[in-house]
Symmetry: C2
Subunit: 190 residues, 2 copies
């Protein structure tokens, strides 16, 4: 997705060989026009599939997932990283190790909002080691839902998550796939 | 906003005289079509103002804030409740007591994304005691920004936050303002 790759080149900050900071448009400040295009592009790539629900994780997955949900006419469910006093239902839960926050979160989704009848797409802002995606897959499997695939805004293709999960048969559509962050420069696959 | 009030009556669950659960369309599962209408309605109510930035707080403020930002053509910034390893800039911070989670969070916004040139609208899913809104106002004031007003999806008008802040001169537009949750029923003002 050219618009996204241009934005990454213009505004992304390479903090190390593995860390790309995109907080000016994706995960702290959000560019709504770009997120709308992201949602439309993901819908386009999965236009061959029936999708009944969009599953993501708070917080940076919510904007792209919601624009995708709007195009699909499907509700969005975001997994919570912490329990609220009003989140009292029976829950699907999974453990997720976050490398950027250096901690393990238990993520949860109410059993009211995912079922065996659902055909799910999983959305996240980043795919690196695949920990968040694996947690969301675990939750979707606990619900017995059919997993159509995943949609990722930025994949760090030089890390292992995407390759591992594709080898296990998961369809993953990444709108920007990064080959390298070496020498302070962003290089994409293709 | 009739569509929103109807949705609250149909799907909201009154857990006590003070707790309304709306996790089927606002703060766990999200109804993207409703959120789009919320964004358009808020833009409409503030159509007399110039707004350069939408400020909200993770996670449930993000969807309505992003749709508002799309209509306004303005970026959205969401305050973070926890620090990320990539959130290393100088920060504006404020303390917020959450009644539903029963804890104090320090919320933060990078100084890169709010400035004295900004004309800010603050968006949140709920207004009850006003703690989150006060924290966001504090952050906007630290930036020296002009605060145009606030946009709230659901105000619990029987709690004190809205009244206090309006008395201090803040413009607050609530799309549904709840008068009472007594006897398991939602009653709105107007």
């Amino acid at each position: 997705m050219k618009l996204l790759k241009d934005k990454i080149q213009q505004e992304g900050k390479v903090l190390s060989d593995v860390v790309l900071k995109v907080d000016s448009f994706l995960n702290h400040q959000i560019d709504p026009m770009l997120m709308q295009e992201v949602g439309e592009e993901l819908a386009n790539r999965y236009s061959d599939e029936i999708i009944t629900k969009v599953l993501t994780i708070e917080s940076s997955g919510i904007a792209p997932a919601t624009f995708l949900g709007l195009v699909l006419g499907a509700p969005v469910v975001f997994a919570r990283k912490r329990k609220s006093l009003t989140l009292t239902d029976n829950l699907y839960s999974a453990k997720v190790h976050s490398f950027t926050k250096n901690e393990v979160n238990e993520i949860s989704v109410s059993q009211n909002f995912l079922s065996a009848d659902d055909r799910i797409i999983i959305i996240d802002d980043f795919l690196a080691n695949g920990e968040a995606l694996k947690g969301l897959l675990d939750i979707a499997q606990q619900a017995g839902a059919h997993i159509v695939g995943a949609g990722i805004v930025i994949e760090k293709g030089f890390q292992k998550g995407g390759e591992q999960l594709r080898q296990q048969g998961l369809r993953i559509e990444s709108l920007a796939n990064i080959k390298s962050l070496a020498n302070g420069k962003v290089e994409f696959f293709d």
